[in-house]
């Protein structure tokens, strides 16, 4: 009887599960109402749009562009290092002894590159340590046109079969190695330059320098300054990580040196050591410079330019509808000049209050990509943002367009503004009208 009782309970539980939805055979066996969708381009609801410049300078960016496309663009990153020790304390007493540099390794992180670039090379030029934010393309040009102190073929390193030598891989990628998080093999060329790859496809390039190429200068407190140019048979464009991307994310110099020491029973022996110094200042210069902003909507360049768009949302979009897609349509004035393989992201982000150029940025955003040389209309999906506007009438219906990351590249897009009626920005909205519940 007890077993029978459990069976009854089991059957009862099973019976309580419901399934009342069937494929609709319409219109005969469907509700008389239907879900009605509408698609409209609002051509004149974006107005009072302006561009503002000067948000970020090149030295504040997380990336710096190196590009060389003759007649189009020449972009050159540069950096100075922190000071380097010239003397070191001995282990046996408090006296210091001078160090003798054996060699250096310069680490650069190539964050972005064209996968289609062939014979991609980086060239290293010596610059005066006095370079700073006032340095421009013209003032640095003589140093960049001098013979390079070193160069490395990135394509050559990528084509090199990775080393499986345990001693080598332990040094570079082992648990205590230089880059334990790096993936793939350790690639080394005949000059001793090393290439490692990280999980995000960024490349770590270690250039081996000697003391002639990078002398330890007492008057400069051991500081060094280098400029970098990129060269390739095609698509010569890379972006290097800067110190602003993360602490130690910029160029890094590893100094390998020795000094006279007395250790235990070995008086006057020689000790070897190394010292890592990070970037003190980094930036990039390019030619031609970013043109001045005009009546069009400008996004990108250095100093960075943002465009503020104000949207007069129709009242009916605030109620009785459910917005399913919203797309901002921007018509470019001309294709963005640059290296053809390049592209960059444009972000549309809401503002919490409309104070013009100084409007604080909100937390809702969407991005799209603009390809160099393309005259195609740019479509930026703004569904989340416009949905928030339709649901909350107190929100400010303005948004900023900006490049991501800002001030990281010479690239600058220009779109027609509301001053050009035929090509002005528009909002393409797809929405579902409220379902007529209640009727049979």
């Amino acid at each position: 009887m007890r077993r029978f009782g459990w069976l009854v309970l089991l059957l009862a539980a099973g019976a309580c599960t419901e399934n009342v939805t069937a494929p609709g055979v319409c219109p005969t066996f469907c509700p008389s109402g239907s879900i009605s969708i509408h698609d409209t381009i609002f051509a004149a609801i974006i107005g009072r749009d302006s561009s503002f410049s000067g948000y970020l300078q090149g030295y504040q960016s997380t990336l710096m562009a190196a590009a060389d496309s003759p007649g189009v663009i020449d972009s050159r990153p540069f950096f100075t290092s922190q000071t380097m020790i010239r003397r070191i304390k001995r282990a046996v007493d408090t006296t210091t002894v001078p160090i003798s540099v054996d060699s250096l390794r310069l680490r650069l992180i190539i964050a972005q590159r064209s996968k289609e670039a062939t014979n991609l090379r980086l060239k290293l030029f010596t610059l005066p340590v006095t370079v700073d934010s006032t340095s421009d393309f013209a003032s640095l040009d003589p140093y960049f046109t001098a013979p390079p102190v070193d160069s490395v073929s990135v394509s050559g390193l990528l084509a090199t079969p990775g080393s499986t030598d345990t001693a080598l891989t332990q040094f570079w990628r082992g648990a205590q190695g230089i880059c334990p998080a790096c993936i793939d093999s350790v690639r080394v060329d005949s000059a001793g330059n090393v290439l490692l790859m990280q999980a995000d496809s960024s490349l770590l390039v270690y250039l081996k320098l000697d003391t002639l190429q990078a002398p330890l200068s007492e008057p400069d407190s051991g500081r060094l300054a280098f400029g970098i140019r990129v060269a390739a048979d095609s698509f010569a464009s890379v972006r290097l990580a800067t110190e602003q991307s993360s602490v130690g994310g910029g160029a890094q110099l590893n100094w390998y040196f020795h000094f006279a020491d007395s250790v235990g029973t070995k008086p006057d022996s020689v000790s070897h050591s190394k010292q890592t110094v990070t970037t003190r200042f980094d930036s990039f210069v390019f030619n031609p410079p970013s043109p001045a902003i005009d009546s069009n909507l400008t996004v990108g360049g250095v100093p960075s330019v943002r465009s503020l768009l104000r949207v007069a949302l129709p009242a009916f979009l605030h109620d009785s509808i459910d917005l399913v897609r919203a797309t901002l349509i921007l018509v470019p004035v001309s294709p963005v000049p640059g290296v053809p393989s390049d592209s960059f992201a444009i972000e549309g982000r809401n503002v919490t209050t409309d104070l013009g150029a100084k409007s604080p940025l909100g937390s809702t955003f969407n991005t799209t990509f603009v390809h160099i040389g393309s005259a195609d209309t740019v479509r930026l999906e703004l569904t989340n943002l416009v949905r928030a506007w339709t649901l909350d009438t107190t929100q400010v219906t303005s948004l900023f367009l900006r490049q991501l990351p800002e001030a990281a590249s010479y690239t600058q897009a220009r779109f027609y503004s509301s001053r050009a009626p035929a090509f002005r920005p528009s909002l393409h909205v797809t929405y579902v009208k409220r379902f007529a519940f209640g009727a049979p």
């Binding site: 009342v20 069937a22 494929p23 066996f29 459910d322 797809t430 579902v432 007529a436 049979p440």
Partner: protein, 381 residues
Amino acid sequence: MKTAVGRLGGWAVRVGVLVAVFLAAQPPNRLTAQDSQFGIKGLGTPGRWESVRARSTGGAFAPFDAFSPLTDASLADARRMSASIAGGTSWRTLEPTGAAQASLRATRFPALVIAGPVTPRIVVGGGFATYLDRTFGVSIQDTINLRGVQEPITDEITSDGAVSDLRLGAAARLHRRLALGFGFHLLTGSSRVIATRSFADSTNYRTSTARDEVAYSGTGGSASLLLDVTRDVRLAGWLRTDSRLRADIGGRQVAENNLPRTYGAGLQWRAGTQAAFAGTVMWRNWRGASPADSNSHDTFNWSVGAELGSLGTPIRFGVRGGQLPFGVGKTPSEVGYSAGLGRQFSGGRGRLDIGLERLERKGTGLTERVWTFLVGLTVRP
């Protein structure tokens, strides 16, 4: 204490009373009797005002059964305070013409009746039943042109609820052969409705969901009589009329529909102490309810059934037929076969009824087949 418990008739009676009190205090939203695709296009699927006992006989015993909410005069037979509740689980198969078959399942509590005498001649009763079932769900797949691209979409429109019939009735035995009954009906209830459109391209298009709650209201009145023509033959007649059914969303009226007048008659013959036979006919003018709607139809329904065996353990069976009020084209028809058992316990203070019903509904473009398992509990504390 033991004596008191025994007087109440054991655990089954106590549980039954608790369930009855709970359900009477707040009728469950899922009060529906039987879903049907034929009700989607109209006001809904009419409920069955029958206890499990009556339903096992095809509905033929409903006008003579005090625990079927069909007539008020039958309350006169409730000589003690009693309560009865019915529940059922349905397995429904849809066979639309030219489309895929679908199987659905639902569990419902179609009726509750509580009745008891206030004087030797007057019995008062009440409870709830389903007036119109509004539970359904349809899923529609289609492809639409959006921004110049063919976009596959899926619409799902669901409604979960019913129009419930809360009844307060009284029956008076005016003569040993004649009983009259009158009832006041409050139509209430709601349905939760959801319309969802989802897109195959979920990256660019967000799913749209609209949801609301439709509240229904209305009133009605009913009158009925039971006439014992002879000691073994009993006649029943009833009529019912209701006000317009109002549908509100958020306190705002969105629809108002006429409801049908109902007329019916029944005959019961007791062939000895261990056999009873009954038959009923019923008309409802649904077309008058929505004259402008060509999809609504007047209905005529009939049923024939029998109850055999002792009062403590009867066997029941019956057959019913008729029409459904809503459907495109010709009036949908319905044929049903049912059978069931009853078992008294606790010295007649409780009765458990079980039944099985097979229905086949046919209309333009659809055949619907339903198996329903029914359980009913009646207690006399």
